[in-house]
């Protein structure tokens, strides 16, 4: 920390950071405790992790959660990228604004509203609640963020590249796959990544649209937490925390790599111009 901060300011920041991290660290620490509650550390053990790995129901739920996250992100990325391309090619200003406003509705709506309205929607369609309804909901609420992350990359792209491709005889499909998609790939990757985090993070919407037979980790933790503390959940939390950290690190390096590539490209272009 810089020395121009006074002692009080430093103390304030330190307290804020302690409050932000203490609960998470407690959670991880007690996953190694021999006791049954989150007080008085009773000695080190891996027992809770062993219970965790021998709990077939929980392992099934972890797998289901991952499948929903990856599948929904894949579909959301495809539809969202198509949406961004559509918006990009829409020249009419008012239409463009309307589409973008509609796009953002799900991003600002409270989860309870999204969950309740999707529940009405699926029930009216006569869809049985379960895997499909959860998957569809996750696809639906991940699409807007993909659009918002891909669109800036399209706007940054040099539009004359598309004209050049057309002049050189590329058909629209070739232009898309050889010119446009490679140029916006970083945005597509960020979109996919954010969709995965949205899906893993969601509790409220899933809680509304999941039936009796299907559960994701958040919903499972909710129902177990209502019965009180169970250190098996601590062990699960610690693992999940680790996965979140890896995801963030991955995202961070992806961004760094993109930044690096951008400056490198620019340097190359500048070298050519000179």
């Amino acid at each position: 920390m810089q020395s121009k901060l006074s002692g009080w300011s430093k103390a304030y920041l330190i307290i804020v950071f302690i409050i932000l991290y203490a609960p998470i660290l407690f959670l991880v620490m007690y996953s190694f405790s021999k006791g049954n509650t989150m007080s008085n550390f009773h000695g080190f053990t891996f027992a809770h992790y062993q219970t965790l790995f021998h709990d077939p129901r929980l392992i099934q739920i972890v797998l289901d959660t991952l499948i929903v996250a990856l599948l929904s992100s894949l579909f959301a990325t495809i539809i969202g990228t198509a949406g961004a391309l559509g918006v990009y090619e829409t020249r009419h200003r008012a239409v463009r604004q309307t589409v973008l406003s509609l796009n953002n509705i799900l991003m600002v709506s409270p989860d309870v509203i999204i969950g309740a309205s999707f529940l009405i929607f699926f029930t009216m369609l006569g869809l049985r609640l379960g895997f499909i309804s959860v998957l569809l909901s996750h696809i639906a609420f991940s699409i807007p963020i993909v659009v918002l992350l891909v669109l800036p990359k399209l706007n940054e792209m040099n539009a004359s590249m598309i004209d050049a491709a057309a002049d050189l005889g590329a058909n629209p499909w070739q232009t898309l796959t050889r010119v446009i998609l490679p140029a916006i790939m970083p945005g597509i990757f960020s979109g996919f990544f954010m969709a995965v985090t949205y899906s893993l993070d969601d509790f409220a919407v899933t809680f509304f649209v999941t039936g009796n037979g299907f559960s994701t980790l958040s919903v499972e933790i909710y129902s177990r937490a209502r019965q009180g503390v169970d250190l098996e959940i601590n062990a699960l939390s610690a693992l999940w925390f680790l996965v979140s950290l890896l995801l963030i690190a991955g995202y961070y390096f992806l961004e760094q790599y993109n930044q690096g590539r951008k400056t490198k490209n620019r340097q190359q272009v500048e070298a050519v111009i000179k």
């Binding site: 920390m1 810089q2 901060l5 300011s9 304030y12 920041l13 804020v16 409050i19 932000l20 991290y21 609960p23 998470i24 407690f26 959670l27 509650t37 989150m38 008085n40 539809i79 198509a82 949406g83 391309l85 559509g86 090619e89 829409t90 589409v99 509609l102 509705i105 799900l106 991003m107 600002v108 709506s109 409270p110 309870v112 509203i113 999204i114 309740a116 999707f118 009405i120 929607f121 009216m124 639906a140 699409i143 659009v147 918002l148 629209p172 898309l176 893993l200 993070d201 509790f203 409220a204 809680f207 509304f208 958040s218 933790i221 937490a225 209502r226 009180g228 959940i233 939390s237 979140s244």
Partner: protein, 272 residues
């Protein structure tokens, strides 16, 4: 490229129609039906005439206001001080990091910390205050809700302060303004946009909290979100649930109008 555009809009337009427009229409439509499935205005009549729902709405708004105010009081100095640090991007990342951790896990951690024979309780006993009922109180609900919302308030304020040109602050000092005057006349007004978008991204989710109210607050505080969840999943009175949903949407629109056009910047994830 005309054909290309249509091709792109087929999946995306379908999504807008089915998952954006249809649900909003359906929730409004459903609010006009009573539990027996008859078209009626009685849900709205019940809402406005029974004191219970109005009191609940008032309570919900009051708690959301408290959460927002406490969050703002803690976040503004934090955002300001963070901007003074070396490696401030790294520190900001550390503030955002907890938002990536599932909300349920954080809530669960607090159950362990605050419950009887939990760590905080043991600590209070240790320093001589004695065991206290911590979980299922209004204070614990406020504390946990604030904890979860803090990063969402810090982020926009931090960005606003980072954009503030230091020459304004220097000019104000040179012209003889005191520290407080510089803050209240220069820094705060120039970063008001950040505060507004922070308030927006904390107040709306606070109105619709429903899981924390049960796990931490013991359903002592019923927010609009809790009421919707109860009507949909417990009492199965979807009509009334939708009516409260419509009220929540109206409250959301009012909040957004009051806090102005929100700049779409960075992450807009909410603690829900």
């Amino acid at each position: 490229m005309k054909q290309g555009k249509l091709f792109y809009y087929i999946p995306y337009g379908l999504w807008i129609a089915l998952f954006v427009i249809a649900p909003v229409v359906l929730i409004v439509y459903q609010s006009f039906f009573n539990i027996a499935g008859h078209f009626t205005l009685s849900n709205y009549a019940t809402y406005f005439h029974s004191g219970v729902y109005l009191k609940m709405t008032f309570n919900s708004v009051w708690y959301a206001f408290l959460i927002t105010a406490i969050t703002l009081l803690i976040s503004y100095p934090t955002a300001y001080l963070l901007n003074q640090l070396k490696h401030k991007q790294l520190w900001l990342l550390l503030i955002i990091l907890p938002t990536w951790i599932n909300l349920l896990l954080k809530t669960y951690a607090f159950i362990g910390l605050l419950s009887r024979s939990g760590s905080v309780d043991s600590f209070l006993t240790f320093i001589g205050i004695g065991p206290k009922q911590l979980l299922f109180t209004d204070a614990s609900f406020l504390f946990v809700a604030t904890y979860i919302e803090i990063p969402f308030m810090i982020l926009p304020i931090y960005n606003a302060i980072a954009e503030l040109s230091p020459s304004y602050v220097n000019a104000s000092r040179d012209l003889g303004a005191s520290g407080w005057q510089t803050f209240s006349r220069v820094i705060f007004p120039l970063t008001l946009d950040g505060v507004k978008s922070g308030v927006q991204s904390v107040f709306i989710p606070s109105l619709s909290l429903f899981m924390i109210t049960r796990l931490i607050g013991g359903n002592r505080v019923i927010t609009l979100g809790t009421a919707i969840e109860q009507h949909f999943l417990v009492t199965q009175n979807w009509g009334m649930g939708s009516t409260i949903g419509v009220i929540l949407i109206v409250a959301m629109v009012i909040t957004m109008l009051l806090t102005g056009e929100r700049k779409k910047k960075g992450r807009t994830r909410h603690a829900k």
